[in-house]
Protein backbone atom coordinates (compact mmCIF):
# COMPACT_ATOMS: atom_id res chain seq x y z
CA UNK A 1 0.00 0.00 0.00
CA UNK A 2 1.22 3.48 -0.84
CA UNK A 3 2.44 5.38 2.19
CA UNK A 4 -0.17 7.90 3.30
CA UNK A 5 2.16 10.85 2.75
CA UNK A 6 2.65 9.77 -0.87
CA UNK A 7 -1.10 9.73 -1.61
CA UNK A 8 -2.84 12.49 -3.49
CA UNK A 9 -5.31 14.71 -1.66
CA UNK A 10 -8.14 13.17 -3.69
CA UNK A 11 -7.13 9.63 -2.60
CA UNK A 12 -6.76 10.68 1.04
CA UNK A 13 -10.14 12.40 1.02
CA UNK A 14 -11.84 9.39 -0.56
CA UNK A 15 -10.41 7.06 2.08
CA UNK A 16 -11.24 9.43 4.94
CA UNK A 17 -14.80 9.92 3.70
CA UNK A 18 -15.24 6.15 3.30
CA UNK A 19 -14.02 5.87 6.92
CA UNK A 20 -11.31 3.52 5.75
CA UNK A 21 -8.81 5.73 7.60
CA UNK A 22 -9.35 8.63 9.96
CA UNK A 23 -8.46 12.25 9.30
CA UNK A 24 -6.60 12.17 12.63
CA UNK A 25 -4.40 9.32 11.38
CA UNK A 26 -3.72 11.17 8.14
CA UNK A 27 -2.87 14.39 9.97
CA UNK A 28 -0.66 12.60 12.50
CA UNK A 29 1.26 10.85 9.72
CA UNK A 30 1.92 14.16 8.00
CA UNK A 31 2.94 15.84 11.28
CA UNK A 32 5.42 12.99 11.81
CA UNK A 33 6.79 13.49 8.32
CA UNK A 34 7.17 17.24 8.99
CA UNK A 35 9.00 16.50 12.26
CA UNK A 36 11.36 14.19 10.36
CA UNK A 37 12.22 16.35 7.37
CA UNK A 38 11.48 19.98 8.15
CA UNK A 39 14.69 20.51 10.16
CA UNK A 40 16.51 19.93 6.83
CA UNK A 41 13.97 21.80 4.69
CA UNK A 42 12.60 24.71 6.75
CA UNK A 43 9.35 24.94 4.83
CA UNK A 44 7.35 25.95 7.90
CA UNK A 45 7.49 29.09 10.01
CA UNK A 46 4.81 27.91 12.39
CA UNK A 47 3.20 24.57 13.15
CA UNK A 48 0.20 23.81 15.30
CA UNK A 49 -0.07 20.04 15.66
CA UNK A 50 -2.68 20.02 18.45
CA UNK A 51 -5.00 22.40 16.57
CA UNK A 52 -4.55 20.38 13.36
CA UNK A 53 -5.39 17.15 15.16
CA UNK A 54 -8.44 18.79 16.74
CA UNK A 55 -9.63 20.00 13.32
CA UNK A 56 -9.09 16.50 11.93
CA UNK A 57 -10.96 14.94 14.86
CA UNK A 58 -13.91 17.25 14.16
CA UNK A 59 -14.04 15.93 10.59
CA UNK A 60 -13.94 12.32 11.84
CA UNK A 61 -16.69 13.03 14.40
CA UNK A 62 -18.95 14.43 11.70
CA UNK A 63 -18.39 11.44 9.44
CA UNK A 64 -19.08 9.02 12.32
CA UNK A 65 -22.35 10.82 12.98
CA UNK A 66 -23.27 10.24 9.37
CA UNK A 67 -22.88 13.87 8.24
CA UNK A 68 -21.75 14.31 4.65
CA UNK A 69 -18.17 15.66 4.35
CA UNK A 70 -18.07 19.47 4.36
CA UNK A 71 -16.19 19.43 1.03
CA UNK A 72 -14.39 16.99 -1.26
CA UNK A 73 -11.19 17.82 0.68
CA UNK A 74 -12.54 17.55 4.24
CA UNK A 75 -9.93 15.98 6.50
CA UNK A 76 -6.95 16.60 4.18
CA UNK A 77 -3.91 18.43 5.65
CA UNK A 78 -2.78 21.72 4.12
CA UNK A 79 -0.01 24.28 4.60
CA UNK A 80 -0.93 27.95 4.38
CA UNK A 81 1.48 30.58 3.11
CA UNK A 82 2.27 32.93 5.97
CA UNK A 83 0.76 35.90 4.13
CA UNK A 84 -2.86 34.95 4.89
CA UNK A 85 -4.21 36.05 8.25
CA UNK A 86 -5.14 33.42 10.82
CA UNK A 87 -6.60 34.12 14.26
CA UNK A 88 -5.06 31.03 15.81
CA UNK A 89 -1.54 31.29 14.39
CA UNK A 90 0.93 34.13 13.86
CA UNK A 91 1.11 35.82 10.46
CA UNK A 92 4.58 37.18 9.76
CA UNK A 93 4.86 37.41 5.95
CA UNK A 94 8.45 36.27 6.43
CA UNK A 95 9.23 39.67 7.97
CA UNK A 96 10.67 40.84 11.25
CA UNK A 97 8.12 43.65 11.01
CA UNK A 98 5.34 41.20 11.89
CA UNK A 99 7.26 38.81 14.12
CA UNK A 100 4.77 37.25 16.54
CA UNK A 101 1.76 39.15 15.15
CA UNK A 102 -1.50 37.28 15.79
CA UNK A 103 -4.11 38.84 13.50
CA UNK A 104 -7.53 39.62 14.97
CA UNK A 105 -9.33 38.14 11.93
CA UNK A 106 -9.15 35.24 9.47
CA UNK A 107 -8.57 35.79 5.75
CA UNK A 108 -11.46 34.68 3.54
CA UNK A 109 -9.23 31.90 2.18
CA UNK A 110 -8.53 30.76 5.76
CA UNK A 111 -12.23 30.88 6.61
CA UNK A 112 -13.18 28.88 3.49
CA UNK A 113 -10.55 26.24 4.22
CA UNK A 114 -11.81 25.83 7.78
CA UNK A 115 -15.44 25.67 6.61
CA UNK A 116 -14.45 22.98 4.08
CA UNK A 117 -12.94 20.83 6.82
CA UNK A 118 -9.43 21.21 5.38
CA UNK A 119 -6.87 20.71 8.17
CA UNK A 120 -4.44 23.65 8.35
CA UNK A 121 -1.25 22.27 9.90
CA UNK A 122 0.85 25.44 9.80
CA UNK A 123 2.18 28.48 7.99
CA UNK A 124 4.87 28.31 5.33
CA UNK A 125 8.04 30.28 4.75
CA UNK A 126 8.21 32.93 2.06
CA UNK A 127 10.26 35.81 0.76
CA UNK A 128 9.53 38.83 2.93
CA UNK A 129 6.12 40.25 1.99
CA UNK A 130 6.22 37.93 -1.07
CA UNK A 131 9.05 39.89 -2.71
CA UNK A 132 11.55 37.48 -4.17
CA UNK A 133 12.06 34.39 -6.28
CA UNK A 134 14.02 32.13 -3.94
CA UNK A 135 12.61 32.40 -0.38
CA UNK A 136 16.06 33.66 0.64
CA UNK A 137 14.51 37.03 1.50
CA UNK A 138 12.69 35.54 4.48
CA UNK A 139 13.79 37.11 7.76
CA UNK A 140 13.66 33.62 9.23
CA UNK A 141 16.16 31.95 6.92
CA UNK A 142 15.79 30.20 3.56
CA UNK A 143 13.76 27.13 2.68
CA UNK A 144 15.62 24.39 0.84
CA UNK A 145 14.58 22.54 -2.29
CA UNK A 146 13.77 18.88 -1.53
CA UNK A 147 15.32 17.85 -4.88
CA UNK A 148 18.68 19.30 -3.81
CA UNK A 149 19.09 20.88 -0.39
CA UNK A 150 21.77 23.26 -1.69
CA UNK A 151 19.27 24.83 -4.04
CA UNK A 152 16.40 27.28 -3.64
CA UNK A 153 12.77 26.13 -3.83
CA UNK A 154 11.86 29.25 -5.81
CA UNK A 155 9.86 32.09 -4.38
CA UNK A 156 8.17 33.82 -2.98
CA UNK A 157 6.14 30.75 -2.04
CA UNK A 158 9.10 28.39 -1.64
CA UNK A 159 7.80 27.10 1.69
CA UNK A 160 4.47 26.00 0.25
CA UNK A 161 6.04 24.35 -2.81
CA UNK A 162 8.78 22.60 -0.82
CA UNK A 163 6.26 21.32 1.77
CA UNK A 164 4.17 19.74 -0.99
CA UNK A 165 7.17 18.35 -2.93
CA UNK A 166 8.67 16.82 0.22
CA UNK A 167 5.40 15.05 1.11
CA UNK A 168 4.98 17.10 4.29
CA UNK A 169 1.46 17.95 3.11
CA UNK A 170 -0.48 17.06 -0.05
CA UNK A 171 -1.81 20.61 -0.45
CA UNK A 172 -0.71 24.18 0.14
CA UNK A 173 -1.84 27.71 -0.58
CA UNK A 174 0.39 30.24 -2.28
CA UNK A 175 0.08 33.74 -3.68
CA UNK A 176 1.23 34.83 -7.10
CA UNK A 177 2.02 38.49 -7.84
CA UNK A 178 4.65 37.90 -10.54
CA UNK A 179 5.00 34.11 -10.45
CA UNK A 180 5.28 33.30 -6.74
CA UNK A 181 3.09 30.20 -7.05
CA UNK A 182 4.13 29.01 -10.52
CA UNK A 183 7.91 29.50 -10.37
CA UNK A 184 8.33 27.61 -7.04
CA UNK A 185 6.10 24.86 -8.40
CA UNK A 186 8.22 24.61 -11.54
CA UNK A 187 11.49 24.22 -9.63
CA UNK A 188 10.07 21.75 -7.08
CA UNK A 189 8.13 19.53 -9.51
CA UNK A 190 4.71 20.48 -8.17
CA UNK A 191 1.52 21.89 -9.69
CA UNK A 192 0.88 25.57 -8.97
CA UNK A 193 -2.01 27.67 -10.21
CA UNK A 194 -2.51 31.40 -10.42
CA UNK A 195 -6.27 31.72 -10.87
CA UNK A 196 -7.81 34.58 -12.83
CA UNK A 197 -7.29 37.83 -10.91
CA UNK A 198 -10.35 38.27 -8.71
CA UNK A 199 -11.09 34.54 -8.69
CA UNK A 200 -9.85 34.00 -5.13
CA UNK A 201 -10.51 36.59 -2.44
CA UNK A 202 -7.67 38.85 -1.32
CA UNK A 203 -9.41 39.71 1.97
CA UNK A 204 -6.87 38.97 4.70
CA UNK A 205 -4.05 38.47 2.17
CA UNK A 206 -1.40 40.97 3.32
CA UNK A 207 -1.09 43.24 0.28
CA UNK A 208 2.11 43.60 -1.73
CA UNK A 209 0.86 44.77 -5.14
CA UNK A 210 -2.91 44.91 -5.02
CA UNK A 211 -3.59 44.94 -8.76
CA UNK A 212 -1.47 41.79 -9.21
CA UNK A 213 -1.70 39.69 -6.01
CA UNK A 214 -3.68 36.48 -6.36
CA UNK A 215 -3.97 33.47 -4.06
CA UNK A 216 -4.08 29.97 -5.50
CA UNK A 217 -3.49 26.26 -4.98
CA UNK A 218 -0.28 24.22 -4.81
CA UNK A 219 -0.53 20.43 -5.13
CA UNK A 220 1.16 17.34 -6.55
CA UNK A 221 -1.53 16.60 -9.15
CA UNK A 222 -3.66 18.76 -11.41
CA UNK A 223 -6.86 17.26 -9.97
CA UNK A 224 -5.79 18.07 -6.39
CA UNK A 225 -5.07 21.66 -7.42
CA UNK A 226 -8.51 21.87 -9.03
CA UNK A 227 -10.25 20.49 -5.93
CA UNK A 228 -8.49 23.09 -3.79
CA UNK A 229 -9.21 25.84 -6.31
CA UNK A 230 -12.96 25.16 -5.96
CA UNK A 231 -12.70 25.27 -2.15
CA UNK A 232 -10.97 28.68 -2.00
CA UNK A 233 -12.44 30.34 -5.11
CA UNK A 234 -15.57 32.39 -5.57
CA UNK A 235 -17.09 35.78 -4.96
CA UNK A 236 -16.33 37.56 -1.71
CA UNK A 237 -18.13 40.80 -0.87
CA UNK A 238 -15.22 41.68 1.46
CA UNK A 239 -12.86 42.04 -1.55
CA UNK A 240 -13.96 44.84 -3.87
CA UNK A 241 -12.01 43.32 -6.78
CA UNK A 242 -13.53 39.86 -6.33
CA UNK A 243 -15.30 38.65 -9.47
CA UNK A 244 -19.02 38.09 -8.95
CA UNK A 245 -19.23 34.99 -11.14
CA UNK A 246 -19.20 31.25 -10.55
CA UNK A 247 -15.83 29.53 -10.13
CA UNK A 248 -14.84 28.08 -13.52
CA UNK A 249 -15.52 24.29 -13.60
CA UNK A 250 -11.91 23.37 -12.94
CA UNK A 251 -12.50 19.96 -11.30
CA UNK A 252 -14.64 18.82 -14.21
CA UNK A 253 -11.97 20.10 -16.60
CA UNK A 254 -9.19 18.27 -14.75
CA UNK A 255 -11.17 15.02 -14.88
CA UNK A 256 -12.00 15.51 -18.57
CA UNK A 257 -8.39 16.32 -19.37
CA UNK A 258 -7.15 13.19 -17.61
CA UNK A 259 -8.86 11.07 -20.26
CA UNK A 260 -6.01 12.26 -22.46
CA UNK A 261 -7.70 13.74 -25.50
CA UNK A 262 -6.84 17.23 -26.68
CA UNK A 263 -8.24 16.83 -30.20
CA UNK A 264 -9.15 20.20 -31.62
CA UNK A 265 -7.51 22.20 -28.80
CA UNK A 266 -5.35 24.96 -30.22
CA UNK A 267 -2.13 25.51 -28.29
CA UNK A 268 0.06 28.55 -28.94
CA UNK A 269 3.78 28.44 -28.20
CA UNK A 270 4.88 31.95 -27.21
CA UNK A 271 7.76 32.86 -29.56
CA UNK A 272 9.17 35.39 -27.07
CA UNK A 273 9.72 32.71 -24.43
CA UNK A 274 12.11 30.35 -26.18
CA UNK A 275 15.60 30.50 -27.53
CA UNK A 276 18.62 32.17 -25.99
CA UNK A 277 18.69 32.86 -22.30
CA UNK A 278 16.98 29.58 -21.45
CA UNK A 279 18.89 26.74 -19.87
CA UNK A 280 19.35 24.13 -22.64
CA UNK A 281 17.84 21.34 -20.52
CA UNK A 282 14.78 23.48 -19.80
CA UNK A 283 14.40 24.21 -23.50
CA UNK A 284 14.62 20.54 -24.41
CA UNK A 285 12.14 19.49 -21.71
CA UNK A 286 9.77 22.15 -22.99
CA UNK A 287 10.06 20.90 -26.59
CA UNK A 288 9.31 17.36 -25.41
CA UNK A 289 6.26 18.64 -23.55
CA UNK A 290 5.02 20.43 -26.66
CA UNK A 291 5.41 17.25 -28.75
CA UNK A 292 3.42 15.38 -26.15
CA UNK A 293 0.60 17.93 -26.45
CA UNK A 294 0.70 17.37 -30.22
CA UNK A 295 0.50 13.60 -29.72
CA UNK A 296 -2.59 14.18 -27.57
CA UNK A 297 -4.28 15.76 -30.57
CA UNK A 298 -3.65 19.45 -29.91
CA UNK A 299 -2.94 21.77 -32.83
CA UNK A 300 0.34 23.53 -32.09
CA UNK A 301 1.06 26.95 -33.54
CA UNK A 302 3.65 29.56 -32.76
CA UNK A 303 2.20 32.83 -31.48
CA UNK A 304 4.08 36.10 -31.19
CA UNK A 305 3.33 38.39 -28.25
CA UNK A 306 5.83 41.19 -28.88
CA UNK A 307 4.94 43.24 -25.80
CA UNK A 308 5.91 40.36 -23.53
CA UNK A 309 9.51 41.50 -24.05
CA UNK A 310 8.65 44.54 -21.94
CA UNK A 311 6.61 42.72 -19.30
CA UNK A 312 9.52 42.30 -16.90
CA UNK A 313 10.53 45.98 -16.81
CA UNK A 314 6.87 47.05 -16.61
CA UNK A 315 6.30 44.67 -13.72
CA UNK A 316 9.35 45.89 -11.82
CA UNK A 317 7.91 49.39 -11.98
CA UNK A 318 4.27 48.62 -11.26
CA UNK A 319 4.80 46.12 -8.43
CA UNK A 320 7.33 48.29 -6.51
CA UNK A 321 5.10 51.34 -6.99
CA UNK A 322 2.11 49.57 -5.46
CA UNK A 323 4.37 48.06 -2.79
CA UNK A 324 5.71 51.46 -1.73
CA UNK A 325 2.14 52.56 -1.12
CA UNK A 326 0.85 49.32 0.47
CA UNK A 327 3.78 48.93 2.86
CA UNK A 328 3.33 52.46 4.17
CA UNK A 329 0.91 50.83 6.62
CA UNK A 330 3.84 49.35 8.52
CA UNK A 331 4.49 52.41 10.62
CA UNK A 332 4.98 50.87 14.06
CA UNK A 333 1.89 52.57 15.45
CA UNK A 334 -0.98 50.06 15.64
CA UNK A 335 0.55 46.62 15.31
CA UNK A 336 3.83 44.95 14.48
CA UNK A 337 7.32 46.04 15.39
CA UNK A 338 8.16 49.38 17.05
CA UNK A 339 11.78 50.44 17.48
CA UNK A 340 13.33 53.45 19.20
CA UNK A 341 10.31 54.63 21.22
CA UNK A 342 12.37 56.09 24.08
CA UNK A 343 9.89 58.76 25.12
CA UNK A 344 11.94 61.47 23.40
CA UNK A 345 11.82 60.60 19.72
CA UNK A 346 8.95 61.75 17.51
CA UNK A 347 6.52 59.39 15.79
CA UNK A 348 8.25 60.10 12.48
CA UNK A 349 11.68 59.15 13.86
CA UNK A 350 10.28 56.01 15.48
CA UNK A 351 8.57 55.14 12.20
CA UNK A 352 11.82 55.46 10.23
CA UNK A 353 13.79 53.44 12.76
CA UNK A 354 11.06 50.78 12.88
CA UNK A 355 10.93 50.40 9.11
CA UNK A 356 14.72 50.34 8.88
CA UNK A 357 14.90 47.53 11.45
CA UNK A 358 11.77 45.68 10.36
CA UNK A 359 12.30 45.42 6.59
CA UNK A 360 15.00 43.42 4.82
CA UNK A 361 17.07 44.68 1.86
CA UNK A 362 14.78 43.54 -0.97
CA UNK A 363 11.72 45.17 0.57
CA UNK A 364 13.66 48.39 1.11
CA UNK A 365 14.91 48.31 -2.49
CA UNK A 366 11.39 47.91 -3.84
CA UNK A 367 9.92 50.60 -1.59
CA UNK A 368 12.59 53.04 -2.77
CA UNK A 369 12.20 51.99 -6.39
CA UNK A 370 8.45 52.54 -6.16
CA UNK A 371 8.91 55.85 -4.39
CA UNK A 372 11.21 56.91 -7.24
CA UNK A 373 8.90 55.69 -10.02
CA UNK A 374 5.94 57.55 -8.54
CA UNK A 375 7.73 60.80 -7.82
CA UNK A 376 7.05 63.99 -9.73
CA UNK A 377 9.26 64.27 -12.81
CA UNK A 378 9.66 60.51 -13.21
CA UNK A 379 6.03 59.37 -13.05
CA UNK A 380 5.28 59.60 -16.79
CA UNK A 381 8.55 58.00 -17.90
CA UNK A 382 8.31 55.11 -15.48
CA UNK A 383 4.99 54.29 -13.85
CA UNK A 384 2.87 55.90 -16.57
CA UNK A 385 4.76 54.18 -19.36
CA UNK A 386 4.63 50.83 -17.52
CA UNK A 387 0.85 51.13 -17.33
CA UNK A 388 0.73 51.60 -21.09
CA UNK A 389 2.90 48.53 -21.60
CA UNK A 390 0.38 46.73 -19.44
CA UNK A 391 -2.34 47.69 -21.91
CA UNK A 392 -0.24 46.35 -24.79
CA UNK A 393 0.30 43.05 -22.98
CA UNK A 394 -3.45 42.69 -22.44
CA UNK A 395 -3.92 43.33 -26.19
CA UNK A 396 -1.29 40.73 -27.08
CA UNK A 397 -3.11 38.17 -24.96
CA UNK A 398 -6.45 39.11 -26.52
CA UNK A 399 -5.04 38.73 -30.03
CA UNK A 400 -3.39 35.43 -29.12
CA UNK A 401 -6.57 34.02 -27.62
CA UNK A 402 -8.39 34.87 -30.84
CA UNK A 403 -6.14 32.30 -32.52
CA UNK A 404 -5.56 29.70 -29.81
CA UNK A 405 -7.26 28.27 -26.72
CA UNK A 406 -4.20 28.34 -24.47
CA UNK A 407 -0.62 29.57 -24.60
CA UNK A 408 2.35 27.58 -23.35
CA UNK A 409 5.92 28.39 -22.37
CA UNK A 410 8.53 27.20 -19.92
CA UNK A 411 7.46 28.45 -16.47
CA UNK A 412 10.90 29.85 -15.66
CA UNK A 413 14.11 30.07 -17.73
CA UNK A 414 16.25 27.82 -15.51
CA UNK A 415 15.93 25.01 -13.00
CA UNK A 416 16.43 25.69 -9.28
CA UNK A 417 19.57 27.76 -8.73
CA UNK A 418 21.94 27.45 -5.81
CA UNK A 419 21.26 29.14 -2.50
CA UNK A 420 23.23 32.39 -2.45
CA UNK A 421 23.82 32.45 -6.20
CA UNK A 422 21.62 35.44 -6.98
CA UNK A 423 21.18 37.22 -3.63
CA UNK A 424 23.61 40.01 -4.46
CA UNK A 425 22.29 40.53 -7.97
CA UNK A 426 18.65 41.70 -7.88
CA UNK A 427 18.28 41.80 -11.68
CA UNK A 428 19.41 38.17 -12.04
CA UNK A 429 16.84 37.23 -9.40
CA UNK A 430 14.11 39.19 -11.21
CA UNK A 431 14.73 37.23 -14.43
CA UNK A 432 13.25 34.15 -12.73
CA UNK A 433 9.84 35.77 -13.27
CA UNK A 434 10.34 36.47 -16.98
CA UNK A 435 7.67 34.09 -18.30
CA UNK A 436 5.18 34.27 -15.45
CA UNK A 437 4.74 38.05 -15.23
CA UNK A 438 2.55 38.68 -18.34
CA UNK A 439 -0.36 36.72 -16.85
CA UNK A 440 -0.20 38.81 -13.68
CA UNK A 441 -0.18 42.07 -15.61
CA UNK A 442 -3.13 40.94 -17.75
CA UNK A 443 -4.97 39.19 -14.92
CA UNK A 444 -5.65 35.96 -16.80
CA UNK A 445 -5.31 32.39 -15.49
CA UNK A 446 -2.02 30.49 -15.67
CA UNK A 447 -0.52 27.40 -14.10
CA UNK A 448 2.68 25.39 -13.95
CA UNK A 449 2.64 21.61 -14.33
CA UNK A 450 5.78 19.45 -13.96
CA UNK A 451 7.39 18.77 -17.36
CA UNK A 452 10.03 16.21 -16.49
CA UNK A 453 13.60 16.73 -15.41
CA UNK A 454 16.15 18.85 -17.16
CA UNK A 455 18.64 16.50 -18.87
CA UNK A 456 21.59 18.71 -17.91
CA UNK A 457 21.14 18.77 -14.13
CA UNK A 458 18.34 16.34 -13.28
CA UNK A 459 16.15 19.03 -11.72
CA UNK A 460 12.43 19.66 -12.36
CA UNK A 461 11.17 21.83 -15.20
CA UNK A 462 7.73 23.44 -15.34
CA UNK A 463 5.37 23.77 -18.30
CA UNK A 464 3.34 26.96 -18.07
CA UNK A 465 -0.19 26.89 -19.49
CA UNK A 466 -1.93 30.26 -19.81
CA UNK A 467 -5.66 30.69 -20.46
CA UNK A 468 -7.96 33.71 -20.82
CA UNK A 469 -9.52 35.38 -17.79
CA UNK A 470 -12.26 33.19 -16.28
CA UNK A 471 -11.25 30.29 -18.53
CA UNK A 472 -9.10 28.71 -15.81
CA UNK A 473 -10.73 25.38 -16.68
CA UNK A 474 -8.99 25.36 -20.09
CA UNK A 475 -5.57 25.48 -18.46
CA UNK A 476 -6.60 22.64 -16.13
CA UNK A 477 -7.85 20.51 -18.98
CA UNK A 478 -4.64 20.85 -20.98
CA UNK A 479 -2.45 20.36 -17.89
CA UNK A 480 -4.37 17.27 -16.78
CA UNK A 481 -4.09 15.68 -20.23
CA UNK A 482 -0.39 16.46 -20.36
CA UNK A 483 0.13 15.13 -16.83
CA UNK A 484 -1.56 11.82 -17.67
CA UNK A 485 0.53 11.41 -20.83
CA UNK A 486 3.74 12.32 -19.02
CA UNK A 487 3.02 9.84 -16.20
CA UNK A 488 2.27 7.09 -18.73
CA UNK A 489 5.51 7.77 -20.57
CA UNK A 490 7.59 8.01 -17.39
CA UNK A 491 5.97 5.12 -15.54
CA UNK A 492 4.63 7.32 -12.73
CA UNK A 493 4.33 10.85 -11.42
CA UNK A 494 7.47 12.96 -11.54
CA UNK A 495 7.27 14.11 -7.94
CA UNK A 496 7.48 10.53 -6.69
CA UNK A 497 11.11 10.62 -7.85
CA UNK A 498 12.08 13.34 -5.36
CA UNK A 499 15.02 12.12 -3.25
CA UNK A 500 14.03 10.60 0.08
CA UNK A 501 14.74 13.34 2.57
CA UNK A 502 14.76 11.18 5.68
CA UNK A 503 18.09 9.89 4.47
CA UNK A 504 19.30 13.34 3.48
CA UNK A 505 18.22 14.78 6.83
CA UNK A 506 20.59 12.59 8.80
Amino acid sequence: MTRLTRCSAAELAARIHAQDITAVEVTRTHLDRIAAVDPALHAFLHLDGPAALAAAAAVDDGLRRGDPPASPLAGVPLALKDVFTTVDMPTTCGSRMLQGWWPPYDATVTRKLRAAGVVIVGKTNMDEFAMGSSTENSAYGPTRNPWDLDRVPGGSGGGSAAAVAAFEVPLAIGTDTGGSIRQPSAVTGTVGVKPTYGGVSRYGLVAFSSSLDQGGPVARTVLDAALLHEVIGGYDPLDSTSIDAPVPPVVQAARAGATGDLTGIRVGVVSQFRGDGYQPGVRRAFEVAVSRLRELGADIVEVSCPSFDHALPAYYLIAPSECSSNLARFDGMRYGLRVGDDGGRSAEEVMSLTREAGFGPEVKRRIMLGTYALSAGYYDAYYGQAQKVRTLIIRDFAAAFDQVDVLVSPTTPTTAFRIGERVDDPMAMYLSDLCTIPANLAGNAALSVPAGLSDDDGLPVGLQVMAPALADDRAYRVAAAYEAARDDADGGPLVQRVPDLEVAAR
Binding site: P104, S240, P313, D331, G336, E356, A386, K388, I394, M427
Partner: protein, 98 residues
Protein backbone atom coordinates in the same frame (compact mmCIF):
# COMPACT_ATOMS: atom_id res chain seq x y z
CA UNK B 1 20.60 55.78 -19.17
CA UNK B 2 19.26 56.82 -15.78
CA UNK B 3 21.72 57.67 -13.09
CA UNK B 4 20.79 57.84 -9.48
CA UNK B 5 23.11 59.51 -7.03
CA UNK B 6 23.78 58.54 -3.45
CA UNK B 7 22.07 61.79 -2.38
CA UNK B 8 18.97 60.90 -4.37
CA UNK B 9 18.83 57.50 -2.70
CA UNK B 10 19.12 59.21 0.69
CA UNK B 11 16.23 61.47 -0.31
CA UNK B 12 14.12 58.49 -1.39
CA UNK B 13 14.86 56.75 1.90
CA UNK B 14 13.71 59.84 3.80
CA UNK B 15 10.50 60.01 1.75
CA UNK B 16 9.90 56.31 2.39
CA UNK B 17 10.66 56.66 6.12
CA UNK B 18 13.62 54.30 6.09
CA UNK B 19 16.48 55.24 8.42
CA UNK B 20 19.03 53.56 6.16
CA UNK B 21 22.70 53.27 7.12
CA UNK B 22 25.66 54.71 5.22
CA UNK B 23 26.62 51.22 4.02
CA UNK B 24 23.09 50.64 2.74
CA UNK B 25 23.21 53.92 0.81
CA UNK B 26 26.32 52.73 -1.02
CA UNK B 27 24.80 49.32 -1.72
CA UNK B 28 21.35 50.54 -2.76
CA UNK B 29 22.67 53.38 -4.97
CA UNK B 30 24.54 50.84 -7.09
CA UNK B 31 21.72 48.32 -7.18
CA UNK B 32 18.96 50.84 -7.92
CA UNK B 33 21.07 52.19 -10.77
CA UNK B 34 21.25 48.72 -12.34
CA UNK B 35 17.54 48.08 -11.82
CA UNK B 36 16.45 51.48 -13.13
CA UNK B 37 18.63 51.11 -16.22
CA UNK B 38 16.92 47.82 -16.94
CA UNK B 39 13.34 48.89 -16.27
CA UNK B 40 13.83 52.10 -18.26
CA UNK B 41 13.38 49.81 -21.29
CA UNK B 42 9.64 50.45 -20.96
CA UNK B 43 10.48 53.78 -22.61
CA UNK B 44 11.41 51.96 -25.85
CA UNK B 45 7.77 51.18 -26.49
CA UNK B 46 5.99 53.73 -28.66
CA UNK B 47 2.86 54.15 -26.64
CA UNK B 48 1.82 57.78 -26.96
CA UNK B 49 -1.73 56.89 -27.98
CA UNK B 50 -2.08 53.86 -25.70
CA UNK B 51 -4.32 54.27 -22.66
CA UNK B 52 -2.78 53.20 -19.34
CA UNK B 53 -4.07 50.19 -17.42
CA UNK B 54 -4.03 50.42 -13.64
CA UNK B 55 -5.97 47.24 -13.12
CA UNK B 56 -6.42 44.17 -15.28
CA UNK B 57 -10.05 43.73 -14.34
CA UNK B 58 -12.28 46.75 -14.92
CA UNK B 59 -13.02 48.47 -11.63
CA UNK B 60 -16.62 49.26 -10.90
CA UNK B 61 -18.27 50.73 -7.85
CA UNK B 62 -19.20 48.00 -5.43
CA UNK B 63 -22.23 48.45 -3.23
CA UNK B 64 -23.62 46.47 -0.38
CA UNK B 65 -26.88 46.57 1.53
CA UNK B 66 -26.94 49.40 4.07
CA UNK B 67 -27.04 47.15 7.10
CA UNK B 68 -24.66 47.14 10.06
CA UNK B 69 -21.94 44.52 9.94
CA UNK B 70 -19.85 43.70 13.00
CA UNK B 71 -16.27 44.96 12.83
CA UNK B 72 -13.37 44.36 15.18
CA UNK B 73 -14.02 44.98 18.86
CA UNK B 74 -11.86 47.62 20.53
CA UNK B 75 -9.96 44.84 22.27
CA UNK B 76 -9.31 43.03 18.98
CA UNK B 77 -8.20 46.22 17.27
CA UNK B 78 -5.72 46.94 20.06
CA UNK B 79 -4.52 43.34 20.36
CA UNK B 80 -1.41 43.85 18.23
CA UNK B 81 -0.46 47.27 19.58
CA UNK B 82 3.02 47.96 20.96
CA UNK B 83 1.51 50.24 23.62
CA UNK B 84 -2.02 51.20 24.62
CA UNK B 85 -3.50 53.66 27.08
CA UNK B 86 -7.15 54.17 28.05
CA UNK B 87 -8.27 51.83 25.29
CA UNK B 88 -6.35 53.67 22.60
CA UNK B 89 -3.12 53.23 20.65
CA UNK B 90 -0.28 54.95 22.51
CA UNK B 91 2.08 56.54 20.01
CA UNK B 92 5.20 58.72 20.25
CA UNK B 93 4.78 62.50 20.12
CA UNK B 94 3.78 63.69 16.67
CA UNK B 95 5.20 67.21 16.90
CA UNK B 96 8.86 68.12 16.92
CA UNK B 97 8.79 70.50 19.91
CA UNK B 98 9.03 68.63 23.20
Amino acid sequence: MPTISRDEVAHLARLARLAVTEEELDLFAGQLEVILTSVARVGEVAAADIPPTSHAVGLTDVFRADVPRPGLTQQQALSGAYATEDGRFRVPRILDES
